[in-house]
């Protein structure tokens, strides 16, 4: 590797308890209290959902959009492990952490959103599963994925930290690492197969809604388009987050990796874009895009954002311009989010006269758990070796550590021997 990102290093030189963390924590606290209110008062008072729009932003944003953005774990992973793009290995940990937090918060919100959560135990009895139901597939697959492969993938940084901090646990940790290493290909095989299944099932959910989804979004290829969108959203989110973090915590950027990611993202988006348009043309629906109404406007908004992102990503990669690159990933994330958000909300025509807008409580609960995820990320990257950095950063950490406490220095020094 000749790039900047050679090793995952905790953001050791930043305090963990910052003002931002407190604000995020407060938002989470508010959300938890409001969630309690939802438990006792019911979904109606706690949200703007109604019989015409029975899915509000919790399912459509926190689950569909955020797990889409959190698809870096599988999307980047497939690039790194299946296609063996060496460079992508350096960002895997960040991608996996983002995925884990996105899924964790998404699943929490899914539990808050269902009206009778005590009956979710039926998930444990396969003989009671309705195998025709895409929602069942989503629920089971997402839970299994988050609890097993994704969790396992996120364990190594924790083990590493423990190894350095707790010498007494070292034999245990080494055994654990051995087990993980042995089963790794099998585990991450699941970590890629499962998300492909449930991200596409998220699309299949709206297939059953038939003509209630506007013609510019409804297509038999919806599952494929959803998982494809999850892929580029995952890349965009990881790259964008890394750019943002490098800015916040003054870390070096690795343009080789970022460029590769940008090209991959651009390629995924461009092919997706063409497929979607092609599918519309094949089914003779494209002319709906030229009608003058809010639906066509939103359709073009999605397509323009994504086309714009491709342009930004390609140009920025060519010119090694991080500003443009950041814009590109941002547009990709927003465009993809909009695409995944619309079929259940904006493009969902329950019946004429129906209207939905999230209530303040609904927004605060959604926001609060997103805040939890962000806070978790901020804390985790400072405690654990996750964000990629040059080797010099690692050396700096050792020096910093030696200066702070002998015990830690001992741990680091031992590793060197």
């Amino acid at each position: 590797m000749t790039g900047n990102w050679q090793r995952a290093v905790p953001v050791y030189n930043q305090p963990i308890r910052t003002r931002a963390l407190y604000v995020l924590g407060a938002l989470t606290g508010v959300a938890v209290l409001l969630a309690l209110y939802r438990v006792f008062a019911g979904l109606g008072p706690a949200s703007g959902m109604n019989d015409a729009y029975s899915w509000g932003i919790w399912k459509t944003f926190n689950v569909m959009v955020l797990t889409g953005l959190g698809s870096g774990g599988f999307a980047v992973g497939i690039g790194a492990w299946v296609f063996y793009r060496q460079r992508l290995h350096s960002v895997m940990r960040a991608a996996l952490l983002i995925s884990f937090l996105a899924y964790f918060c998404g699943l929490i919100l899914l539990t808050i959103d269902v009206g009778r959560p005590w009956n979710l135990y039926w998930m444990l009895f396969p003989w009671n599963w309705n195998t025709h139901s895409p929602l069942l597939e989503v629920m089971v697959c997402m839970s299994v994925y988050a609890m097993f492969p994704l969790a396992v993938e996120n364990v190594p940084p924790i083990l590493e930290r423990l190894y350095d901090d707790r010498p007494s646990l070292r034999p245990l940790i080494e055994r654990a690492m051995g087990i993980i290493a042995k089963g790794y290909p099998y585990v991450i095989g699941l970590a890629y197969a499962l998300p492909m299944m449930h991200q596409s099932s998220l699309g299949a959910l709206m297939l059953l809604a038939g003509e209630r989804v506007h013609t510019l979004w409804q297509t038999p290829w919806l599952p494929l388009l959803y998982v494809w969108a999850a892929a580029f959203m995952g890349y965009a989110c990881v790259a964008g987050t890394l750019l943002f973090c490098s800015l916040m915590w003054k870390r070096a950027r690795d343009m080789q990796v970022l460029t590769e990611m940008s090209y991959i993202t651009a390629g995924l988006i461009a092919s997706w874009w063409l497929f979607r348009v092609g599918d519309l043309m094949y089914r003779n629906r494209l002319r709906a895009a030229f009608a003058v109404n809010p639906y066509s406007f939103v359709f073009w908004l999605e397509m323009v954002l994504l086309a714009g992102s491709v342009v930004f990503l390609v140009v920025s990669s060519r010119k090694q311009n991080t500003q443009l690159m950041f814009h590109g990933h941002l547009l990709a994330a927003i465009g993809g989010a909009l695409y995944r958000f619309n079929p259940t909300t904006f493009a969902f025509q329950a019946k004429p006269g129906a209207f939905y807008f999230p209530s303040a409580i609904e927004i605060l609960i959604s926001l609060g758990f997103v805040a939890l995820g962000i806070a978790g990320f901020m804390a985790a990257v400072k405690l654990l070796p996750i964000l990629p950095a040059p080797l010099s950063e690692w050396r700096g950490m050792e020096a910093h550590g030696k200066a702070r406490s002998g015990l830690v220095a001992q741990g680091y020094a031992a590793a060197q021997d």
């Binding site: 050679q6 343009m255 311009n321 500003q323 004429p352 006269g353 129906a354 927004i363 040059p390 950490m397």
Partner: protein, 396 residues
């Protein structure tokens, strides 16, 4: 009792006063008239009962000739069911009932003479009230009055009348005698008299105040009230019973009496399923009631309306057979096919705005602080640089 001695008639007010009719009771009569006909009658189109009393009081008592044909005298009976004024005051002092076979004391040739006298004295000015249908088969042979066929009598008396009022369903369109197979060829008055204004007051019997209102309107204002296509005054016949029924709420809520005496019937629920013809019957019974006692009317006492005012309904459709309600206009306040849902709260809108704004600003600020052009890739660390602190790292 009308007299044939030629004493000049006085105004109604002075007449009533002479007979000791209380002013309060007269005002009550005028109020009753206003309630009977709140709209559609020029007579009652006044600010208050006092004004009506003034107009009525000034008028001379109208001369009324009442003929009976194929009747049951029920329509005369209904006239008697007034208390203020009672029947005597009514027929003597408010109107001048110059000929009425049931109520007049005379009979035989005396009665005939009274009729001729009244016709001659008030030629062109009297109001002819007809009760009962007129048989037309066999040249009207099925009814003879004083040796004359009823048909002929009607034509004669009607010739000099100022206006003709067909009192009751029989006189209006044939009523009971005209029920299938109508063996006597019974018809209403307006099938016979074509050259004079005819007002139909169908009902079996109709409310007496309707008659009084029409007669006084004619006497006081000099014209007849507005009528519909069937010559029925609109002030009383312009609406279906169903549209003004006190039990409509039960109909709209689906509460029906299914059998006489059942729980629903006891609760006063809608009688539609028992055959009530309210939805197809034009009449004012649902608000005017009878016998001056509130709720004394068929539906009010638990009997379904039989549609007695309506030709083709009353005495035609079986009493307990339900009718179609196609003509009923749906009420304006009815659940619509597409009910609106959902609103935006200001707090929610503000939050969304704040979040979008916040995220957008952060993104813009972040992108601005990113270096436009990233320097070339820094060489990776070689083993020689492992020892010693690197200048790049640091605890910033």
């Amino acid at each position: 009792m009308p007299n044939g001695t030629g004493v000049p008639r006085q105004s109604i007010a002075s007449h009533l006063k002479r007979c000791g009719f209380q002013r309060r009771d007269f005002l009550q009569l005028c109020t009753t008239l206003m309630v009977t006909a709140p709209v559609g009658l020029a007579l009652t189109d006044k600010a208050n009962a006092l004004e009506v009393a003034e107009a009525v009081g000034k008028t001379r008592r109208p001369s009324v000739i009442w003929l009976h044909f194929q009747d049951c005298t029920g329509c005369s009976e209904t006239l008697l069911r007034t208390s203020k004024p009672d029947v005597a005051d009514l027929i003597l002092n408010v109107i001048s009932l110059d000929y009425h076979e049931t109520l007049m004391a005379a009979s035989g040739t005396q009665a005939e003479a009274a009729l001729h006298h009244a016709m001659k004295e008030n030629a062109g000015k009297y109001v002819l009230v007809c009760e009962g249908s007129i048989p037309t088969k066999n040249n009207g042979a099925y009814l003879t009055l004083g040796g004359k066929p009823g048909l002929q009598l009607l034509e004669e008396v009607g010739a000099n009348a100022a206006a003709v009022i067909a009192m009751g369903s029989c006189a209006s369109w044939g009523g009971v005698p005209s029920a299938d197979p109508n063996p006597t060829g019974a018809v209403g008055v307006d099938s016979i008299i074509k050259d004079k204004p005819v007002i139909n007051l169908p009902g079996c019997p109709p409310n007496p105040y309707a008659l009084l209102a029409v007669v006084l309107e004619f006497a006081v204002m000099g014209k007849l009230p507005a009528v519909d296509a069937h010559k029925r005054p609109t002030f009383a016949y312009d609406r279906f019973i169903h549209d003004h029924c006190p039990r409509r709420g039960h109909f709209d809520a689906g509460r029906f009496a299914k059998d006489f005496g059942d729980e629903g019937h006891r609760q006063g629920w809608c009688l539609y399923k028992l055959g009530c013809k309210g939805p197809v019957t034009h009449a004012a019974c649902s608000t005017r009631h009878f016998n001056e006692i509130p709720d004394v009317w068929p539906i009010g006492v638990g009997a379904p309306c039989v549609g007695c005012t309506e030709k083709g309904v009353g005495f035609s459709i079986p009493i307990f057979q339900t009718v179609d309600i196609h003509a009923a206009t749906p009420p304006e306040a009815f659940p619509l096919v597409h009910a609106p849902t959902g609103t935006v709260s200001t707090a929610a809108a503000a939050l969304v705005g704040a979040i979008v704004g916040g995220v957008g600003t952060a993104a813009v600020m972040a992108s601005k602080r990113l270096p436009g052009k990233e320097p070339a890739v820094t060489p990776s660390e070689t083993n020689s640089e492992v020892t010693g602190k690197s200048a790049k790292s640091g605890g910033e």
